[in-house]
Amino acid sequence: MAEWLSKLQTIDRRWIYLSIWIACALPFVVNIKLPVYVSPETRRLYDFIEQCPPDKVVMVDSAWDAGSQGENWGQVEVVFEHLFRKRIPFIVTAVEVTPLGPQFADKVIEKLVREKFPDRKYGVDWVNLGYTKGGWQAMQQIAKDIRQQYRKDSRGYSLDDAEKLPLMQRVRNIEDIYLIYSVTYSPLEDWIPFVHGMYGTPIAFGCAGIQSTTYYRYLLSRQLVGMLVGVRGAAEYDALLHPDLRDRNSMGTKLIVPQAFGHLVIIVAVVLGNVGYFAARRRRS
């Protein structure tokens, strides 16, 4: 028996890959819904956006691309939906990390406008300023005078063009921004000292699950107002937006059930590997 169990340590990894494929594909083929429990860091971001005053805008640093869209797509999708629903104007940009960020944000916004908010207008409800470089210098420039960092938006309109970009006519510097929500695989921590630390502007992150352990400390010290962690954070936020399970159709909600199934396979594989390890040890002794 111990000899047979010890073989569990040497299962060909390709069988594990195949098991994960099957387990993850199943919820895409068969409609399975699981409940989602909202964590405090997600609820804090939701509540904070709920309290946005009418004269302020939200800035979304959407610096992610295909490599992390599994997590980041859902994280911007739910927040954009919330902002559209509350008619809170927002500015999209991507600072430093990837020049593809603004394009991916456009895809998410186009989908939302087409499916849920056909009356929202570019230039009035949102503006995409495109990519910018400079890290902390860019952040400080945005805080002091946004026009010193961006002369035109991603479509080539001047920020002073009141006809095309009426929204930008009331955005001059950090005082007009209610919240900076940075979504990327690993958000730049420089937002915390150079914007929150110096100007007091609230910051929130949407990050890959792998990075979240680094950022939790900022939640405890209130340097972050909230955080969406991986697919889980996106699904939780969707649950706050849509209390009825049948109304949820964001990327986060779509991926959370297959993810649970995939995790189950990983847990089983870890348990089997450990059983094999202890069986082999007993055999040796």
Partner: protein
């Protein structure tokens, strides 16, 4: 992928499967696709960098400045000074010359000096709130304030326990990282051992999150292959 042409979906599906073919074994298709992706990324980044960063923030103000200079020092001539920034940036490339390497050291020195100053400020603004937050009352109210001199919130056993664990973890882990003396004294030895265990628990949380992220990357592609390419499911 909504609205995408059929050929785009097929191309994306073939590339995705080509990359995943590495799971079976390393192969030429995988390497080819990897190199194509790197090339595309570099090319795209270069164009975006020029169009959205260098052109509007450096080239256009500089050329307008020179136009004003040639127009008899009209207003806006100061923009021509941006040429100095370009010259300074060019000094980096003297890294490739043994003879003129010293020129690149000018700009390296400037970058290091500015960087050191900024990091000092960054660390203060980032870590001072962390240090102050680590001083927590062991008997706390529901909102985290202390029993004496706190808010009107009720006493919370949960918050108090949370704070005790938080401060206890900090102390244990810091003791573990005291390497300047041998951990012979029993209280120090046990505290350090507990610190090591707590670190192992946090590494476990790191690993769990790593699995979650890798899984999410895979699931997004799986969804694309099943729903957009093969039209299976659709939930």
């Amino acid at each position: 992928m909504e609205g995408a042409e059929v050929w785009q979906i097929w191309l994306a599906a073939i590339v995705t499967l080509g990359i995943y073919s590495y799971l079976i074994s390393d192969n030429k298709l995988y390497r080819l696709l990897l190199n194509v992706m790197i090339g595309l990324g570099v090319g795209y980044n270069f164009i975006i960098m020029w169009k959205q960063v260098l052109a509007p923030l450096w080239w256009e103000p500089m050329t307008r400045g020179f136009a004003a200079v040639f127009n008899g020092f009209a207003p806006g001539s100061a923009g021509a000074l941006w040429v100095l920034v370009g010259l300074l940036g060019t000094l980096w490339y003297f890294q490739f010359s043994r003879k003129y390497l010293w020129l690149s050291r000018i700009v390296i020195g400037m970058t290091l000096g500015a960087g050191a100053g900024v990091v000092f400020k960054q660390q203060l603004l980032m870590n001072i709130p962390q240090i102050t937050d680590s001083f927590r009352p062991f008997i706390a109210r529901a909102d985290g304030t202390p029993l004496v001199g706190g808010s009107a919130a009720p006493l919370s056993l949960w918050m108090s326990l949370n704070n005790i664990i938080f401060v206890g973890t900090i102390v244990c882990v810091m003791v573990y990282f005291f390497f300047s003396f041998e951990h012979k004294w029993a209280p120090v030895r046990h505290t350090a051992r507990l610190g090591r265990w707590l670190l192992m628990i946090s590494f476990g949380a790191f690993f769990g999150n790593t699995v979650m992220t890798r899984m999410a990357v895979f699931l997004e592609r799986l969804q694309f292959l099943l729903r957009d390419w093969l039209h299976v499911g659709g939930f």
